[in-house]
């Protein structure tokens, strides 16, 4: 390393992906030129998506060797839990990065069914499947070298905090680069204590409405529309116009990005700070502002909402009161 003896020791940073799409890894790159700043202050000691590290490298590190570990993705398999436990042991600070790790994210929608249902859709009854012998992945497979074992597929998708103690959470699907960079700087500057109880950072306490530029007219919802069905009137609250916008029940930090692009908020920052269950929070709010004088009319309106669970719990089913399919 350099001969500059005064320089503070560099941070050791790790990033892991579990049940996720890879968007979180990319979002870390989105900090752009700040990556050069990051490299100045930190060494990457584990990042499967970007560099060729093996689990054994991590296992060989002393405990708490890693200063900050970002863990993205939900816990769906025994491998993901095993690595979560390993990284917990090896890290001073463990951060859930993105909605999948925090609230289950999109993968947790699989909790609406069980492994049998998932296997059925993935290996049997699906128009794009050709599997005449009905083959399914087996935990253990005999081959000429002996037994091969693959990780166990869990009955349900878990959040990182369901398996290990988490210090911080950076919400978003994916987290916004600007917020992430702020968080990294805060960690590097020693502004945050290493251990904390899954405290949310790189976001704000209030809901997306706080950052949303659209105007509320205090009108009630007359009909529901999907984004491909109608063009929203500019400057007017999308929810009031009938587009199911989850902004009111979603934590801010994204800068109302989707809404500024003309699309309703999908709720990717999870519930706002004082809410446990994002879906019920949004459902109560929507139910309150339906323009329906009778129960019958209310039912008609509600029936216009396509895929309610997927809409109201798109990112947070893993943290919801609904829990999982048995």
């Amino acid at each position: 390393m350099s001969g500059n003896g005064d320089a503070a020791p560099k941070l050791k940073v790790a990033m892991y992906w579990a049940a996720s799409c890879g968007g979180c890894d990319i979002s870390l790159l989105e900090i752009g030129v700040n990556l050069l700043e990051l490299i100045k202050i930190a060494d990457v000691v584990f990042w499967p998506c970007a560099a060729d590290f093996k689990y054994q490298h991590v296992a060989d590190y002393p405990d708490e060797y890693i200063d900050v570990c970002f863990y993205n993705g939900a816990v769906r398999t025994s491998e993901q839990e095993e690595i979560a436990r390993l990284l917990r042991r090896k890290s001073k600070t463990l951060i859930s990065y993105g909605e999948c790790a925090i609230d289950g994210g999109i993968p947790a929608l699989a909790n609406l069914t069980n492994p049998k249902g998932i296997y059925d859709a993935a290996y049997h009854h699906n128009p794009s499947i050709d599997n005449p012998d009905g083959v399914e992945p087996q935990p253990i497979t005999e081959c000429e070298y002996g037994e091969l074992e693959i990780p166990k597929f869990y009955d349900q998708v878990l959040r990182l905090k369901d398996v290990v103690e988490v210090d911080y959470e950076i919400p978003g699907c994916p987290p916004q680069a600007e917020r992430v960079w702020e968080a990294i700087q805060a960690v590097a500057g020693g502004a945050v204590p290493a251990r904390n109880n899954a405290v949310k950072v790189a976001c704000f306490d209030k809901s997306v409405c706080d950052e949303c530029p659209l105007e509320k007219r205090l009108t009630k919802i007359k009909e529901f529309k999907r984004p491909h069905e109608a063009r929203p009137e500019p400057d007017w609250c999308l929810l009031e116009q009938g587009f199911v916008c989850l902004g009111r029940a979603t934590r801010s930090g994204c800068g109302a990005l989707c809404i500024k692009g003309g699309l309703p908020c999908r709720g990717c920052y999870g519930p706002s700070s004082n809410v446990e269950d994002q879906g019920t929070a949004m459902i109560s709010a929507i139910a309150s502002i339906l323009d329906a004088e009778t129960e019958e009319r209310a039912k008609q309106l509600i029936d216009e909402i396509v895929d309610p669970v997927g809409t109201f719990y798109r990112f947070s089913l893993g943290s919801s009161h609904l829990k999982a399919h048995k």
Partner: protein, 608 residues
Amino acid sequence: MSDDGNAKGAAGNGAHEPRIGVFICHCGGNIADVVDVQRVASTIGKLPYVVDASTRTFLCSDPGQVRMEKVIQDHKIDRVIVAACSPTLHALTFRRAISRAGLNPFMFEHVNIREQVSWVVEDKEAATLKAIRLISAAVGRIAHLEPLEKRRIPIHPAAMVIGGGVAGLKAALDLAQRGIDVALVEKSDKLGGRMLELDRVFPTNERAKDLIQPLINEVENNSRITVYRNTELVDSSGVVGDFNTKISIRQPGAEAREVEIKSGAILIAVGLDVYEPHDGEYGYKQYPEVIGLLDLQKMMNPDGPTGGKVEVNGKPVKRVAFIHCVGSRQWSGLHKPQADGKINDYCSRYCCSGIMHAAVELKDRFPGIEIYDFHEDIRTYGRGHEEMYTEASEKGVVFLRYDPHKPAQVLTDPQGKAPLIVRVADRLTEGLEVDTPVDLVVLGNGLQARDMSSLIDLYRCSRGADRFLLEVHPKLRPVELAAFGLFLAGSVQGPMDITEATGMAAASASKAAALITQGFLEMDPFIAKVNEDLCTGCQTCLTICPYDAIYRDEEKEIAVVKEAQCTGCGTCAAACPSNAISQFGFTDDQIISEVKMLLGDIQVTTKV
């Protein structure tokens, strides 16, 4: 379910743990004959934070209350559960008792194990278990209670009366007589309202002007009453005790001037409209011989345009037909709906008596005049009204009754002997079709609510399906609107005759005076509160608050509850997607832990 939440967790960091006292009443044998109160006490006594659970034969008795106060002090109890009769009966009794023992009266939960348990559950074991469940739930809830204070809202000692008709005048005078300053605002340039159009009024047959003029004079000469004529309501803000209404006053040849009226209460006395038959309904506007009951009043008025002569096209009228229920008691499918798609399916309540009164007067003033009365029903229900009906029959009015689905028809006389005929299948003669030639047809047109949309917007008045403004309860709170401090005076509330309208106006004035002279309003503390740090200003609550009790602080961009206006209905707290609104006495913590205890595992004592 074995959630570890339950009542535990109520004691925050460093705060001292709740100390719950549970008092179970036998109510003589009312409760104890069915519920095993000893087992209940023993089971509840083991629940978290419960420091004492005891039973008593009559907890509400003086010795019972004294004992309760002593237990509270001896055990340093800081919150109390009473399991006894209905809270409507004795919640206040026990709140007072715990106050005397030095506790905040709202650190209290009342569980009804009499009406909801011992009187309705026959099986003793089931009743005992149910009592245990209900009290456990209260334990879960009470652990999270915070001391609360009653709200005291000062009342500005003045009233505003909207509408200068007979009801408004009467209400204004009644208030002034109680020493209350009144602002009386009238849309037109005259006080007196509908009564100015009337000649004689039933049942006393007095001249309307002899009744209304002294009332107007009295109002105008009363130093406590300020009259504003030619006004429009522009804007309103504030809540009970402190309403601020902006009115605009038209001035001839000058710009309208705006005045702001501050009042502690508002009385709405804007009256109603007379139903205007649509063109061709019973020949209305089709034939000059078809008029409304009020038009007849004008004709009969010696000071009116005809000098009191009843004539059409200069020809005296010898045969008159009255038709009842025009624009009242309408049937959907049969009658043409109004612009809002609704029909007037109610009875207008003045027309039968009004017709009888007019018929008698015509008979008296024009001997030999023939009068035919076409009706579905006759409802002369008021005091002194039935006598008018009898008198009309005695004086020879001919009554014909038709089926509401086959109403009378007004046609030109095919024989040309009279200007018009009224054709009806008369039910009194087994459906015989009768053509009656007449010179004049008088329609007993009903009453309907006027367009009050701006008033309703300004004050968020509740409205019935019949479009009239709606009181909180027809019997128990007959002149109050749901929004505090707003009172209904007269026929803005539904069809009424003058007698009824002035009676209701007097009631309204009396309720408003009671509020104002009290000087303040004491209200339960169970209102909504916004957590400023959590509120995003998404305005979901503003959209739904039925009492207009939340506004947006434009500077802070958050919602703020108007304490005086909030009824504690909880709608906003349930709707808030940020959970930034909580309801005193019904916080999430309280409700969730109540539900958990209601459903959770409890070790029930089997034997004492």
